[in-house]
């Protein structure tokens, strides 16, 4: 069996060498596997390895996913044997046939790969003893089908997609059934599941699974209401149609039904669904086939119809019916694949398969005509052919159908009607192909079509002949059908076929069918005219397509709900959700712990009022400047709040961050409009409601969830042990640099990366152009150099204070308010001052290698962390004595923090506040007239220092000089180089 599975892997290789003739070689392993299968089964039969129902079994089990108890279980019982042979023998025939069907030159690698892959998948499907493997194989056949249809050209894409969607939908139903069965029985093993007691114990479950399986099988075997894909899929090339859509793949559903018949045959839903859908499909297919001109399409409807009969047989569920199903499966596979192949032969020779065109031709193809007639006769149920035997068996089963007395009558009558039509369309097929027509203008074109080569018609002739041989000697199939039916019935079934059973009722039915059928054939033109107007109002394809389109359209609507890329809507949804959470929480929590201590101070209210005013002012602000100023108000209010709550370091940090934020905002303000847009008052309502709700939720949340517990253990530890453990008296700082230095490391990284990010951002996209204010250009006060003198002088006065302050804050941070952040922020404020005091943007003394500083900062921080490993842990502070002073590596860490902060502040001023390099912007400065022109400013003439800075990159250390070499030919990079 493994041989067959492996065949598909070598097939591309073979095809590469042999082209279309690869089919000859590929047929061999399939036949070989068939022989092996039979002999293995015979061995098993001899050695007596059998299942509970007594039929022989061959099995293998390889674990695949033991975690979910899935294994590669293969098991061949009688039913599997029947289908195995079907798959392999028909497969071999098709392979041989393909060698002549395909174009002599061309890429057939994927075709043979997919065909053999399909054979393997189909084999795995019928042999699977594990539900998962069964499902996998099921889907694999679907995929092979999809690809085989799809590779037939542009017109095949839509059908391929439709087919895929329908069959995958069925597959999903099967998956649902599979999972339910696995959970219900606790095993994935098919043979165990089939005999599990749960099916008799739990009726509802059994019904549900039965329905799922039935539906899955219906999609695969093209049963009502999922039948539409089958004719649609006929765009595929003939070998594909013959193999997948006649003999094998569509039989997967039949196999599934047969496989689960022992479990569900007693479930009424099963019987009703199968019989109903089967008969409807049988009738619909047969009638539809009568109306087709395309030979292949006719065969497709015929297949649908025959499958309907098979499904009906399985639905009847008696041993006799199952026996009929098995033999009819075999018979159908033989005649239908042969017929398809013949249609392919005709198509190839006559270059059409449309009856109306064939009518104008003379097909001189005696062998094809004869053999095709045989196959068609088998389909029609003409005696002496296998089709007759199977139909007789079927009718017998139908006549003996269980249930209310009317059932056998109805079923038999319906089957008989379907058979009449079958007879009619079988004749129509042959006559349509070879019969010609009494066309008046037949002299117009009398193309003569000659017989194809034997290698081409050999395979179908074999199939057709087999129908005759087995029809004459049906007893040859006794054994096979016996084991097959036994397995599907779950009990011993004996099959004895004979050519002559005597004058049994079914014979009369058969004869009636043939008689009426013959009449229909004779009156075929009238019949055809009578049926022409009755076109089906709803096409299944349309349903699939409509569903698909509507899903896509509805999807567009759903996507449109959140389609905006503007942040506002996306931001408001979480706010609303938070309100909902708060409301749910308010409903859930009934008692809260008591408030500990007195959480408020009367003067807190001053801050509340100030912040309230600030917030309202921010909401009301119509100009950007006002908004920024009142943002400062709130920020300063927060500073005082932190002070009020005993958080000195936080207050200082907040203060500095606030002002640096404002400084950066002002740098950008010149590129933004002066005022915000006005929104009409009613557009304020919803934002106000959402914001109000969110605010209220927050207030309630803070009120309910804070201040209701005693001091936390961690807090107590810091307050009592903090100094002893670290030697630092600023406990907040000890947390930052000692206890939770990792947070701080992350934070300094964030800062540094912010610098890198804005550099990347501004490199990727230029900021929007500046908009100048309405400046009184000729005022005596306009000279920047004159008028910055006050600021410069003040800056000179403050510079030593800032530098000293920054240093002191850095060094004392471990003991008193300060630390790397605060110190660096003060230093940053110094740079801000230097920037603001400069007479021009260009001459502002903030040019420093900011990226280098950032890199160094992070490196120092992490490096300190590595030092900690000397004492066994990352970031563990060390306390070495240097020159007799007790020091701590926490200070080094703070230096890292300092560098990173300075780096990002410098990055902001350099990237945002200074004009881009003149020489370094060929694109911006040269070809883009819209670029800001700083040169126009009176006082902007570069100073001596600037000229030096612009002419060449600063030579701060060897690294940057090397960069300048790297980029000597790339002036665009020069400001990036400056940054390092």
């Amino acid at each position: 069996m493994v041989i067959a599975l492996l065949t598909c892997f070598v097939s591309p290789l073979i095809t590469k060498f042999l082209g279309r003739n690869a089919g000859w070689v590929l047929a061999l392993p399939l036949l070989g596997a068939a022989v092996l299968a039979v002999s293995a089964f015979a061995d098993a039969a001899r050695s007596g390895s059998a299942d509970s129902s007594g039929s022989p079994v061959v099995q293998q089990w390889v674990p695949w996913m033991p975690t979910v108890d899935v294994g590669l279980g293969l098991r061949m019982d009688g039913l599997a044997l029947v289908f195995t042979l079907l798959v392999l023998v028909i497969g071999a025939l098709i392979m041989v046939y393909s060698t002549r069907y395909l174009e002599p030159v061309g890429k057939h690698g994927t075709f043979y790969l997919l065909m053999t892959g399909f054979a393997a998948a189909m084999l795995a499907l019928v042999l699977a003893d594990d539900l998962i493997v069964l499902y996998v194989a099921w889907e694999a056949t679907t995929l092979c089908s999809f690809f085989l249809i799809a590779r037939s050209g542009a017109g095949a894409r839509e059908p391929a997609i439709r087919t895929l969607l329908v069959t995958v939908a069925g597959g999903l139903l099967l998956l649902a059934a599979v999972t339910v069965m696995i959970i219900a029985t606790g095993t994935t093993r098919l043979s165990d599941i089939l005999v599990d007691p749960v099916w008799s114990a739990n009726g509802a479950l059994t019904t549900a699974v039965a329905v799922l399986i039935v539906m899955a099988a219906f999609t695969k075997s093209a049963q009502f209401p999922f039948q539409a894909w089958l004719p649609d899929s006929m765009v595929a090339i003939t070998p594909v149609s013959a193999y997948l859509h006649a003999a094998a793949m569509v039989k997967a559903g039949i196999y599934l039904l047969l496989r689960f018949s022992p479990v569900f045959a007693d479930v009424s839903v099963w019987n009703v669904m199968l019989v109903t859908a089967g008969l409807i499909t049988a009738l619909f297919g047969a009638i539809a086939a009568l109306r087709r001109y395309d030979l292949k399409e006719l065969l497709a409807y015929s297949t649908m119809s025959q499958l309907g009969l098979l499904v009906t047989m399985i639905g009847i569920g008696t041993p006799e019916a199952l026996k009929a199903a098995v033999i009819h499966t075999i018979a159908h596979a033989l005649f239908k694949s042969a017929l398809f192949m013949f249609v392919g032969v005709i198509d190839h020779s006559a270059h059409t398969r449309d009856m109306r065109e064939l009518a104008h031709m003379k097909l001189r193809m005696p062998v094809t005509a004869t053999a095709m007639g045989l196959a068609a006769a088998s389909m029609a149920g003409v005696p002496l052919l296998l089709g007759f035997v199977s139909k007789e068996t079927m009718l017998k089963a139908f006549l003996d159908a269980p249930g209310p007395a009317w059932v056998p009558w109805v079923v038999t009558a319906a089957a008989a009607v379907a058979s009449i039509f079958t007879f009619a369309y079988s004749a129509r097929l042959v006559l349509g192909a070879f019969g010609g027509r009494e066309d008046k203008n037949s002299e117009e074109s009398e193309d003569v079509v000659r017989e194809a080569s034997p290698a081409f018609w050999g395979a179908p002739v074999l199939g057709a002949t087999a129908g005759l041989v087995l029809g004459v000697t049906p007893f040859l199939l006794d054994k096979l059908v016996t084991v097959g039916a036994t397995a599907s019935a779950g009990e011993e079934v004996e099959a004895h076929f004979a050519l002559w059973h005597g004058l049994v009722p079914e014979l009369f039915v058969s004869l009636t069918v043939i008689a009426i059928g013959t009449m229909l054939v004779l009156a075929r033109h009238r019949v055809h005219h009578a049926m022409a107007p009755y076109d089906f109002p709803i096409s299944g394809l349309d349903v699939v397509d409509t569903a698909r389109e509507q899903t896509i359209r509805f999807g567009g609507v759903v996507g449109g709900w959140t389609g905006s890329i503007a942040p506002r809507r996306h931001l408001s949804i979480p706010a609303v959700a938070l309100i909902v959470i708060a409301a749910l929480a308010a409903l859930t929590i009934d008692d809260l712990p008591a408030v500990v201590g007195e959480p408020s101070d009367p003067l807190d209210w001053v801050l509340v009022v100030l912040i309230a005013c600030g917030v309202v002012a921010m909401m009301q602000a119509k100009t950007l400047i006002a908004a920024i100023v009142v943002t400062g108000v709130v920020g300063f209010g927060m500073t005082v709040w932190f002070l009020q709550l005993g958080a000195t370091d936080v207050a200082i940090t907040q203060l500095l961050v606030e002002i640096l934020t404002v400084c950066v905002m002002v740098l950008l303000l010149r590129r933004l409009p002066t005022t915000f847009e006005k929104t009409p008052p009613r557009q304020h309502v919803i934002p106000l409601l959402v914001a109000g709700g969110a605010g209220l939720a927050t207030t309630v949340g803070v009120w309910a969830l804070t201040g209701r517990r005693e001091m936390s253990p961690a807090s107590e530890y810091f307050l009592t042990e903090g100094y002893n453990e670290t030697g630092g008296t600023n406990l907040v700082n000890t947390i930052l640099v000692d206890f939770r230095a990792l947070d701080t490391l992350g934070e300094l990284t964030v800062l540094g990366v912010a610098g890198i990010t804005i550099a990347a951002l501004l490199r990727a996209r230029k900021p929007s152009p500046e908009r100048s204010a309405n400046i009184q250009d000729h005022s005596p006060l306009i000279d920047a150099r004159d008028n910055t003198v006050f600021v410069r002088t003040a800056a000179k006065l403050m510079a030593p204070i800032i530098v000293a302050g920054s240093l002191i804050l850095l060094l004392r941070g471990h003991y008193e308010p300060g630390g790397g952040f605060i110190a660096a922020l003060v230093g940053g404020a110094g740079f801000a001052l230097a920037y603001l005091a400069a007479p021009s943007d260009r001459s502002a003394r903030v040019q420093m290698p900011y990226l280098l500083l950032i890199g160094l900062g992070v490196a120092v921080g992490v490096g300190t962390g590595f030092l900690g490993y000397l004492d066994g842990s990352f970031l563990r502070p060390l306390h070495p004595e240097i020159f007799g002073f007790q020091t701590t590596t926490a200070l080094v860490f703070d230096v890292g923090v300092y560098l990173a902060v300075i780096g990002v502040i410098l990055a902001s001023f350099n990237l945002l506040g200074r004009p881009p390099k003149r020489g370094g912007q060929p694109l911006a400065g040269g070809s883009d007239p819209g670029a800001p022109t700083h040169e126009s400013e009176v006082s902007d003439a570069p100073t001596a220092g600037e000229k030096r800075a612009e002419g060449e990159p600063p030579t701060s250390g060897s690294t940057s000089s090397e960069h300048s070499r790297d980029h000597a030919n790339n002036p665009e990079e020069s400001d990036e180089v400056n940054a390092r």
């Binding site: 975690t67 969607l165 999972t179 509805f554 979480p574 938070l578 206890f739 990727a764 390092r980």
Partner: protein, 571 residues
Amino acid sequence: MSAALLPLFVAVPLMMAALLVIVGDRRVIHTVGLLGTMIAAVGAAVALVIEFRSGGAIAHGISSWPFGIAIPFVADMFTALMLVVTGLLTIVCSWFAIASGRAANVYFAPLVLVLTAGVNGALLTADLFNLFVFIEVMLLPSYGLFVLAARHKGTLQQVAGARLYVTLNLLTSTVFLIGVGFIYGTAGTVNLAELAGLATTDPTVAISGAVCLFALAIKASVVPVHGWLAAAYPATSPAITALFSGLHTKVAIYGIYRIYAVVFDGDSRWLWIGVTLFCLTMVIGVLGAVGEKTTRSILAFHMISQIGYILLGVALFTFAGLTAGIFYLLHHMIVKASLFLSTGAVEVRYGTGEIGKLSGIAKREPVIAVAFFIAALSLAGLPPFSGFVAKFTLILASVEAGQIAAVVVMLLVSLVTLLSMLKIWNGVFWGDSKSSEKTSTSNADDDAPAASPADGDLPEASPSGTAAASTSGRKQSVAEPASVAQSSGGVATKEAPTASATRADPETRASSATAVAERPRIGMALAGPAVFTAATTLGLGLGAELLLGLSATAAEGLLDTTAYVQAVMGS
């Protein structure tokens, strides 16, 4: 591995990032530094996986402070698996970025390394505030990566996407911070081990934790807070979309799994909320996907849909559910990256991802087509790919848990998933290749070779193949001997849009002067990442047991958090 070494997962990438920034713009050093660090990280993570193969956890209090004071880093199977997969994805996406020219600047490698440090830290930490910090460490470089483009070639859409991305993530992390504040306010600690099970007994802790989970849910883009992701993700470059899809949402999901397991102890009272929301996420996500018009926006919506599946695992909170969820999570990271990378490769070379503007790619780029199709089928949950195992185990778990409605939703959604994948397949890969030619030169993102020949940092734009091969940023031209051998014109003509190479289709020749020779334009270097990830999903489907077993071990660790908690307490 000694637990004390766990911080190195953060420290080493950070240090390397810092060094690369200091070293400056030397592409070779950057590439080697980035990939070397990542490979080392993955190696270490694999060692962790091996260490935890039968369960257990290790933890270390950073700086050796006592329990409750130190920030604990802790790893168990779940952590280790996430470390491996995120690391692998980073490598693959970096590879793609390098091949597509997106990495050709001084910022890429450091930013990716910091991102990695952030991801690793977020995965390892057992301290909620520290988690906040590491989420930020992840986010800041992401903001930079989001807008990375050739000089002055960043698009307005990119900036708009970045705005949305930044603001949403900032909202998320601030909400998370507030949640952490509430947790500290109610429980007096932010240490996961100290918080273990507290939410089951103290409703105020539960609601505080819910705020944190909600924040992570925004980040993970759970309905109804999902739309931002679909809008923002397609706005950046394909490499970055792939990277972010594998890292950001997934870390959020990891956080949700971890916090719910530890703090809520899998409290079954709230699971119905999860099941409902996550099913909605599946449905809304897939519907959104099927309605979109560009490959990446389809894929972005799929991400939302799939996140519903992944989180369903935690909403079931059974052994089977968690196993399936974790497997799904890991599978999804790979397959999603694969899809983004294969469609991204097309987008990079053909300048658009818009369905209808492209067609016939399958004929011209069979390798990418196969990679895409494998990943697409995997995403739809078809066998024999990892997506099938993921979906199957999840459905199994749902059936077991009696969540039949969820099963129905999952089945329907996977059908629609297939539908939308076919939409891409039909719109981009099938059809005549002629319509793609017109768009290949104009309208291109900076990733596309045609963007600007003057662009110094685009490897493809160099005037001649030899000069190109000699510059440092051009590894990929050297690394694709196959395509070079195939193309008679050499590298230069291969990329040049006006190349006078043979044209297969006469109609093309007539219709478009800018048409390109009908031969693969996506070299192996660019296709490689997609192929690799597609192969991985196939491998994980056929050899599902490996990952399934590991996921099961990880699930056990979530179901019974004793090992995790004990490890932290003993650290």
